[in-house]
């Protein structure tokens, strides 16, 4: 694919940085502020671009494995229905919309199960679901922090491993 998306993005960043941003009226504070975050966002995208597929697949694999490892559902009708719906979504051959959308489809089904077990799940089953989803959330949080380390918002960026250590290459 020529030109490579990385090259296209690099060229846009270069032009913004050296031609367009210097030409912005310094008294237009909204424009000046938006230029700063626009460049920062594009720089992050440039770093993410070669890794996006691996990142999304790793997130999707993790949430699917977490869900499929849950014990057999126990509780009232709402819990049983939510657990069945979640299994259907997280099962094989359901990634036709891509890893990113699959991840969020499963995530929304997890949301429904968490609310269901809080309403009518057996105590033991609820505890298992919450423990496993919390453990997943820990892993996802670390992946996400490493992914967005360059945003400057992380409370402890020095402690983060490179995101490539946390995602599996295809």
């Amino acid at each position: 694919m020529t030109p490579d998306p990385v090259v296209r993005l690099q060229s846009v960043i270069h032009t913004l940085e050296h031609v367009i941003v210097p030409a912005v009226d310094a008294t237009n504070l909204l424009a000046v502020e938006q230029c700063g975050v626009t460049l920062a966002q594009l720089q992050m995208l440039l770093a993410h671009l070669p890794l996006i597929e691996d990142y999304h697949r790793s997130c999707a694999d993790d949430i699917a494995e977490t869900v499929l490892a849950l014990p057999e559902a126990a509780g009232g009708a709402r819990t049983l229905a939510s657990a069945a719906g979640l299994s259907d979504i997280a099962g094989a051959d359901t990634r036709s919309r891509g890893d990113r959308l699959f991840y969020h489809d499963v995530g929304r089904a997890v949301d429904a199960l968490l609310r269901a077990v809080a309403a009518d799940g057996d105590a033991g089953y609820r505890a298992e679901v919450e423990k496993n989803i919390f453990a997943f959330s820990r892993r996802q949080s670390l992946r996400s922090r490493a992914w967005f380390r360059d945003s400057g918002f992380d409370p402890d960026p020095a402690s983060l491993p490179p995101v490539t250590d946390l995602i599996a290459p295809n």
Binding site: T27, N28, L29, L30, V32, E33, Q34, V37, T38, A40, Q41, M44, I63, Y103, H104, V106, G107, R108, V110, D111, L114, R115, A118, A127, E130, K131, I133, F134, F136, S137, R138, Q140, S141, L142, S144, R145, W147, F148, S151, G152, F153, D154, P155
Partner: protein, 394 residues
């Protein structure tokens, strides 16, 4: 206004916890926002747009004065802000004014009428900008707005750096030493405002000795997620069910600032006096633990050499607890404080993960690029929420 005349969520009247119980004015705002969303993308207003609308606004407010020299103010992540001069101002403090106008959507949905009411309620107790007029319905310029007198000061030392919305600002030892007691005292003064005589017509009062204060907050932020969440984040739903399971009772509801942190006050660099506490748009009546917990959010501070959280990178968290309890006689309940820390994480993530991304995606804000960028702070906030909930699901 008498307390009995103030609108109250139905569940509080019935005395039954109800997950639909939300302050009526806030629910109205969310409903209105769904309608506004149908209008599509939003274009930032120019200084000329504002200049052209000021005549109608002043006439509508019954103010015989001429506005000129309109220019945009920088900073802030939620409102369009402009400064202008006013010839023939009704009082000297309005010779220069600030106009805060809602974009179509933003990181938070708040009410200019409530903001105007709370600024008038705390004036005299806390330094705040004086209110000139409020157009809560957007009759003059198409969007709700508020005009206040301009107050001088800085949010960070000159030459210092800070991120969006004043995040990451560092004051340094001398400035921190001077500002810290003021910062704490003005929080205490806010909590001391008599909400029954303060003219807070659009604020509902949680009943003392009930879980109303906590319940209304979880309900509101859960409703925001329900309406605006594009992507999933199961951690938030874990937090949601935990919050509902552990609702604390609030003995004595007080007026809260709702966003009390560095970046939301101005100070004079020469005298080192706080000249104005700003951004009261999240103000509501609730549990004093909520403002304390918000101050303890790590995103708004840093760690000292001993690892203790420095509130606003200015002073140790323990000082706020000690001074607050000593000066108010209130006892901080650690379990309640913990609950409100979880709530703080829950709502901050909700703002950035749901509302911010939605507005950025749809171009309904004047600074879409900023909102899209700010959403990245969700990952650090999520890590802190995990820390707060560690052990709860073992």
């Amino acid at each position: 206004m008498l307390q009995t005349e103030i609108k109250t969520p139905a569940s509080a009247v019935r005395g039954r916890p109800d997950r639909e119980a939300i302050e009526p004015r806030l629910l109205e705002m969310l409903v209105d926002k769904q309608e506004r969303r149908k209008l599509g993308a939003y274009l930032p207003r120019s200084a000329d747009d504002i200049a052209n609308g000021l005549g109608a606004l002043l006439e509508q407010a019954g103010i015989a004065a001429d506005a000129h020299s309109v220019r945009r103010l920088g900073g802030g992540a939620s409102k369009e802000q402009f400064v202008f001069d006013l010839d023939g101002a009704p009082a000297p403090e309005f010779a220069r004014c600030v106009l805060r106008m809602d974009p179509r959507e933003g990181i938070i949905e708040t009410c200019r009428r409530r903001e105007g009411q709370v600024l008038r309620a705390v004036a005299g107790s806390v330094p705040v900008p004086p209110v000139l007029c409020v157009d809560g319905e957007g009759r003059a310029m198409g969007q709700p707005l508020m005009v206040t007198g301009f107050v001088g000061g800085v949010v960070k030392p000159s030459g210092g750096s800070a991120g969006p919305s004043g995040l990451g600002a560092t004051m340094g030892g001398r400035i921190s030493e001077a500002l810290t007691p003021q910062f704490i005292d003005y929080l205490i003064a806010t909590h001391g405002v008599d909400v029954d005589v303060a003219g807070l017509e659009d604020f509902a009062r949680p009943r003392p000795g009930t879980t109303d204060a906590a319940l209304w907050q979880v309900n509101y932020w859960t409703k925001v997620r329900e309406i605006e969440e594009i992507d999933s984040l199961p951690l938030l739903t874990l937090a949601e069910t935990w919050l509902y399971d552990h609702l604390p009772v609030c003995a004595e509801p007080v007026l809260l600032h709702g966003d009390y942190r560095v970046g939301n006050f101005l100070f004079d660099e020469a005298s080192l006096r706080i000249t104005a506490m700003l951004d009261w748009e999240l103000s509501h009546i609730g549990d004093f633990h909520e403002d304390l917990a918000y101050s303890f959010e790590p995103l708004f501070g840093s760690r000292g050499a001993d690892g203790e959280l420095l509130v606003g990178s200015m002073f140790p968290a323990s000082r706020l607890l000690d001074d607050y309890q000593a000066k108010t006689g209130r006892i901080v309940d650690q379990a309640t404080l913990h609950w409100y820390k979880v709530l703080t994480s829950y709502k901050l993530i909700g703002m950035n993960h749901a509302s911010s991304i939605l507005a950025a995606r749809d171009g309904t804000n004047h600074q879409s690029a900023l909102l899209g960028f700010l959403a990245a702070c969700t990952s650090g906030l999520s890590d802190h929420l995990c820390n707060l909930l560690e052990g709860e699901f073992a």
